[in-house]
Amino acid sequence: MNMQSNRLLRHGILILAGLLVLLLVLSAALAPVLSPYDPDEVTLELKFAPPSMAHPLGCDHLGRDVASRLIYGARTSLGCVAVIAGLILVLGFTIGATAGYMGGTVDSILMRICDVFLTFPTFILAMFMIGVLGTGIVNVILAISLTHWAWYARIIRSFVLSLKNREYVLAARVAGTGRFMTVLRHVLPPVFAQLAILATLDIGHMMMHVSGLSFLGLGITPPTPEWGVMIADGRQFVWTHPELILYPGLAIFLTVMAFNILGDGLRDALDPHTQTSSSPEDTLAEPARMAVITEGL
């Protein structure tokens, strides 16, 4: 493959991913408008109805329209992940940036707290929190936010630390810019860019944890249409009607892939430090994780 066709292919894939994400966001936002049926409407006569003009993806074991459930599922999953991402970013940024910029005792204390949370395996901790808080969409959001923020805080902190001592920041301080303005103008913008990349790349991971918990019955519970819940619903019919698992599974798969592609593209655009040897797809969030892990040594 020569450079031209390679680049064209990359751009094509990026555009496709972007379109898919747009489609998902639209589905999520406009679910009541787009969905042909009420996702909770049980019509037992239509039990396991095959795909038809009226029901393009057929019906599930309770006669509910699968396509409608998928659309509403997008709303639940994406909505959940969006809130989680927001919470994590706010929490991680506040703590990480404060620790990095202030340094000293503040830094030590905040980082100890971070370390404690990082000591737990995240999914297990989320399970435990659900056990304590109970199931339901709010608790899922809380559980996953509380278990994931520490990673972000660490990354933001090391990023802020590296920025703090860069020449242009020091120059600004020497020139007399107040601390606050320095932070605002010189430290924040690159941090936001980095955060955007990290968050996009991690959305897939968060979505899998939300759906995973829901699949186990520890997250969003039936009858709420959520892709993980749909897979759990369909598991007993894997022998007879595997498509009930296939559709929501594919939905998650395509969504995660689309966000990963988007995240890589974002990183290419915003972070020019990708090395020539490794291509963008290779790393997802690993180097950041590596930085966190090795830093914790």
Binding site: V116, F120, I130, G131, H209, G217, G249, F253, E286, I293
Partner: protein
Amino acid sequence: MTRYILKRLLLLIPILLAVSLVVFTILRLGHGDPAMAYLRLSSIPPTDQALEVARHELGLDKPFAVQYVSWLGKAVRGDFGISYVTKKPVLDEILYYLPNTLILAGYSLALTLLLSLPLGMISALKKDRLPDHMTRGLSFFGVSIPNFFLGFVLIWIFSIKLHWLPPLGKGGFSHMILPILTMSCMSLCINTRLIRSTMLDNMHSRYVLYARARGLSESVVVRRHVLTNSLIPVITAIGMHAGELFGGAVIAESIFAWPGVGRYAVSAIYNRDYPVMQCFILIMTTIFVLMNLAVDIGYAWLDPRIRMQGDDQ
């Protein structure tokens, strides 16, 4: 090196203490009255008097610090309480199921490492040629597929359609294949890409240039120098994989009805069986911490710069 190991071993104590404190705090702060759950599971009507008796029996009427210390004292001696559901000692039950989970996790980790190393190497050495494109494409897919979906896909292909492998339960080795594949997929893909990118970075490093200038053969350069240096971040990544694997084990056990500790814990969570829940997270976290310690030691063993930082020159 021994000093480094000793230092890390000593650090375990405050770490585990902090973990236990967090678990205990979350438990006490969360919703759900343990006394209520206990009564419910014992099928005792929750009258006010019964609640009071239950609270006293469970030690819930004492101050927080006292509760914590007495709980910790018992935990250290191996007494994690009685399951609200089965009325048997919690630690015994968990230790009964734990080996099954560890078997799955162990094999999955082994598969991840054994497959990702050659795949990553080939991908790096044959960069931008067909093996590389195939590996990268497959890895990209593998990272995006949720393991609870993959499990059913594998069941459908290998059990339902091909009748090659059993879909459920514990039995011989053939029962383990599908769960292990389900669990290792994501770690395998991540590790392959990691090895590829690390090796490529190292292939362009100056010490490789100098090694070639010194006349070393290409195979010596790659095998001895590039690979050793590439292994360092890979070893560090094992800790990360372990965390994902534990989560994957819970899901795989659910899908394949594998009698492991994850499945046990899920049903305990349904039942608000608090003693089981807290023992579960403590045991799993302790294993996780020990694994990370092993990883750190392995990392220090490989990289003299880390090893010697603690010692005097």
